[in-house]
Amino acid sequence: MVATTQAVATVDLLRWMPLIPLLASLINMFFGARLGRKTAGGLACAAVLASFAIALYVFWLLPATGMFRDTVYTWIESGSFQVKLSFQVDALTAVMLLVVTGIGFLIHIYSLGYMGHDEGMVRFFVYLNLFIFFMLLLVMGDNLLVLFIGWEGVGLCSYLLIGFWYHDHANTIAGNKAFIVNRIGDFGFVLGILLLITELGRQGIWTLNFMELQQHVNLLSPEKITLITLLLFVGAAGKSAQIPLFVWLPDAMAGPTPVSALIHAATMVTAGAYMTARLHFLFVLAPETLSLIATIGAATAFFAATVALTQTDIKRVLAYSTVSQLGYMFVAIGIGAFSAAIFHLFTHAFFKACLFLGSGSVIHALDGEQDMRKMGGLKAYLPTTYWTYVIATLAIAGAPFTAGFFSKDSIIWQAYSSPLGSTELWFIGWVTAGLTAFYMFRQLFLVFHGECRADEHVKAHIHESPAVMTVPLVVLAAGSIFAGWLGAPEYLWGSLWDQWLQPIFGGVHEAAHGSLTDEINLTLLTLAIGGLGFLFAYFAYGRASKLPDRLASLAGGGPYRLLLHKYYIDELYDVLIVRPFTYCSRWLAQVFDPGVIDGLVNGVAKAARGFSLIWREVQTGNVQHYLAGFLAATLALLAYFLKQQ
């Protein structure tokens, strides 16, 4: 079962991890123009490096069962309900910290090169540091409310960064879409938080602190827990782009590539998985929610992979791939394998960031070209980019002994064997793995192999990226291989990872069915379908072939168009939701508000005026009329006195 963390030490250092990037962000905001682009960028990178250093130090200090806490001040105090702005670091948070600050640092360095000639570079680093601040708040918060502040903050930074090149209207629309869809998720999230507070409050406990929540979770009835977890999952679905709230992530590719790498691959989108892992003690008590999460995760993984098969924009493929991999994480959560989910989060951060930065390198080399149909043959021009891309692709496809192999396999195996898993879940995960291998290698071949199909004037300028961009690529590629070695299955050298997270999640579930032989067999099956995907991609795209066109025109081209247009989901949402909503809004703004609301207010004034127009006629100016009134009143008084007698 879940082990309670005993040793809680107070470490004042914790607050500096988010504070230093915040300070750097503020300094760049106010003085960035004066500092100049180079200094501002350097300051931003140094700030994240400082946070990474502190994270490493804290990680080194942290005992396996321990927790560090740093309380800054008491924020809300209302009767017995207290919320402190307080940070905690346990084993789970430590891992997230390393990912956020470490990969964040690498991406900051990369951005020095990628955004080096952009005139908004300073603003970029302001937003990026701000994002690191909020993300750290999210993972280090010791209660749901601080987590939520970080949650909202990263949403804000995502919006700011997606619409970074705001002169192009399409980018701002994408930013809006991301923010609004996120908001829908946040609505569910807030309802979940409120329900949690009130339900626990009914039992006399008023808190949102994670440790206290974990202690008192059995005070809640199962129906309430199911409802709360469902609402919280709505929030996670919004932030982590699961069905039905995933539509913002592909559009978010409008932002600069480092943003896509950091926010929409490695960190922000994983916040949903982190949140559910953090509240695992709540979710394990709601089996219906968990099965829903697993189903949605599996569906998302599969459908996103199918859409990725047909996309032609290099970043779009990676975006759908991210959605698909996030689906895997939620499948793991849904079957109670929280440790595996976080492990996949960890490895995915490495290879997805590597892939995105690599694509950024390609786009940079091709002067902004993102259409893969206009690429090809870049292997010769961009060697470092090519080889890191190969390694990352192998990792995501699950090639043996790469990071993706261990993490994905762990999920697929537990989907089969866990008491909450099922053969159906395994099957979908298995097929998706094959699809993943196919579309990733399709991308590799289209971009780097064959003839270079770029325009002439672009071809003339193709150059490898500077060191400041390629060094992070190499580091991330190394991570894509070795990061996974932390979580090998039992029949190899065992999982250091599971051991590390054991105090939080408890041990890995005993396999309900399936033995060691089954595990090895399924691993081989997964490798097989991955290999199949690779071969298929090779024959279709690795050599000049008519296969892609023949596939596209299969069954009259209908399925191909369906996938190319992402199942027309955006159009569906537009018709079902956006249009009625804007119609209602317009009606409210142009008819209801001026007519009824203003009418009501003006009506009061009009009524008052009307009355006064009538009443003022009493003042005729004629003294004798006034005296008549006097007399009438006097008579009334006299009558009253007479009555009294």
Partner: protein
């Protein structure tokens, strides 16, 4: 002896007649005269009470009422003259400037 009530009822009647004049007549001077009539009715009441209660205070009050009535009649007529000079009319119903 005449009972006190007779004097009081007489005063009331005179007062009411004065009220008609103030209310209904459309000549400012007659209105002022009706006011004097009303004041006199009140004076009568005071003197009657003074006699029947044996106190001089009633008569003293009447003294002052007379003085004030004199002053009021003087000012009232001065205003009437002033108004007549401007409007050539003594009809109170034609002096309606202070209306809505």
């Amino acid at each position: 002896m005449v009972p006190l009530e007779y004097y009081l009822i007489l005063s009331a009647v005179i007062f009411a007649i004065g009220v008609i004049g103030v209310l209904v007549r459309r000549n400012l001077i007659v209105v002022l005269m009706s006011i004097e009539l009303m004041l006199n009715a009140v004076n009568l009441t005071f003197i009657a009470f003074s006699r029947y209660l044996g106190s001089m205070q009633g008569q003293v009050i009447v003294f002052f009422v007379m003085a004030v009535a004199a002053a009021e009649a003087v000012i009232g007529l001065a205003i009437v003259i002033s108004v007549f000079r401007h409007r050539r009319s003594l009809d109170p119903q034609e002096m309606q400037l202070l209306k809505w």
